[in-house]
Symmetry: C2
């Protein structure tokens, strides 16, 4: 099955502007373009496994990726999601340690690969890139700590509401502005919020009965946003 797939150019890559490579000069972009590789990945493909040693990093030009970790019982925990403009696998690279997480494509993607050497030499000569990486790490850390509080203190219903709001932002909505573009399975959602699949299904249909959501097959439409926000009991 062929897919229209054009290797994107770093110079004209729009997602790049919001990524850590937004700080590179024209010259540096040229070198990036020269040394990178780019591939089309089908949903389900694994970019790397937890425990592997990194040989480069992955820059998402299009598509979505989930970052997971398996617990003792063998259950998958979705730690984080990544989309166009996000760079995955950079942490293992800068820390020189094995991957903490596995990365799996969850929506057909075009993803560029930047070899370790290229990345390190860019980092060595451009302090702005180092600064940008520190910023990225601090952001990831803040989110991880926020999620800790949510997992510790909120009930599943609240975490689900919270997650649906996050998914709205992450995937965007269809033209009606209310239907999630998300193709996550109920199981994925459960693995993200840390609960059983059945519990997610049950709570979704509970939200549906309460007129907060409208479920049409896999599609989730938010029909009462204020009520969903309420159910999430967010800070701000």
């Amino acid at each position: 099955m062929k897919n229209t797939f054009e290797i994107p150019h770093c110079e004209t890559c729009l997602p790049r502007l919001h990524s850590m490579f937004g700080v590179l000069s024209q010259d540096e972009l040229g070198r990036l373009q020269l040394h990178k590789g780019c591939n089309f990945h089908r949903s389900g493909q694994v970019l790397f496994y937890e425990g592997d040693y990194p040989s480069g990093l992955y820059c998402i030009n299009r598509g979505k990726v989930k970052l997971t970790k398996v617990g003792e019982a063998g259950r998958e925990q979705i730690v984080r999601l990544a989309r166009e403009g996000d760079v995955v696998g950079y942490r293992a690279l800068v820390s020189g340690t094995p991957y903490e997480l596995s990365a799996t494509v969850i929506e057909d993607a075009s993803i560029c690969f930047v070899p370790r050497q290229t990345f390190h030499s860019l980092m060595n000569e451009n302090p702005a890139l180092t600064g940008r990486i520190i910023r990225q790490l601090t952001q990831d850390l803040a989110k991880a700590e926020q999620k800790q509080v949510s997992l510790s203190q909120k009930q599943v219903r609240e975490r689900l509401a919270e997650t649906l709001l996050m998914l709205t932002e992450f995937y965007g909505t269809e033209d009606d502005h209310h239907t999630l573009r998300s193709k996550l399975s109920r199981e994925d959602i459960a693995n993200y919020i840390g609960t059983a699949t059945e519990t997610v299904i049950r709570l979704l249909s509970e939200f549906s009965k309460e007129g907060i959501l409208l479920l049409e097959g896999k599609k989730i439409k938010i029909v009462n946003l204020p009520a969903l926000r309420d159910a999430a009991r967010l800070p701000d």
Copy 2:
């Protein structure tokens, strides 16, 4: 109540060697020593509050600190613990954002304060310090993600066992090699593992009945380490 309190010298500060300031040169240490302040803090004192803007960072010479975040319902979540050699508040400083966490002394401490300017100028001229900060951030992130999995997938009993093992390492033991030096209250432990105080108390006495622990007032003695490890179901 007076306490013997000597202002520690950076040059001779032992905990420093394992901290991010272990990478500084003699010359840089001199400047650190010149600009830093150092104070004695009683247990209970707050170093900074979540949401505040940082004006420097705190370097723990002696004592313990808890880093917390309050959830929606007002409950405290202990996100992380810090001890001698640990630097707290550096993340807000390097990211230029408000503190994500509050820091409270939980064991009488002598803590040095390094002003923002001093820290930033050290960072600007010593790339090794920047590298060390990145390493610290990646470590903190890995731990936060590990805790996410634990909170999501493990039961309270397992998390408690896990936490007791962590506390053994964090606080060390008395001369018998089995009694925790920890002075954490049951409530603090509950806030760390994300459960109710009564549940912690109940499970501790359950462990005690099973011959895994021996409880003498606040003191916790581990009498069957293998069984505790078993109850924790750790990776490795």
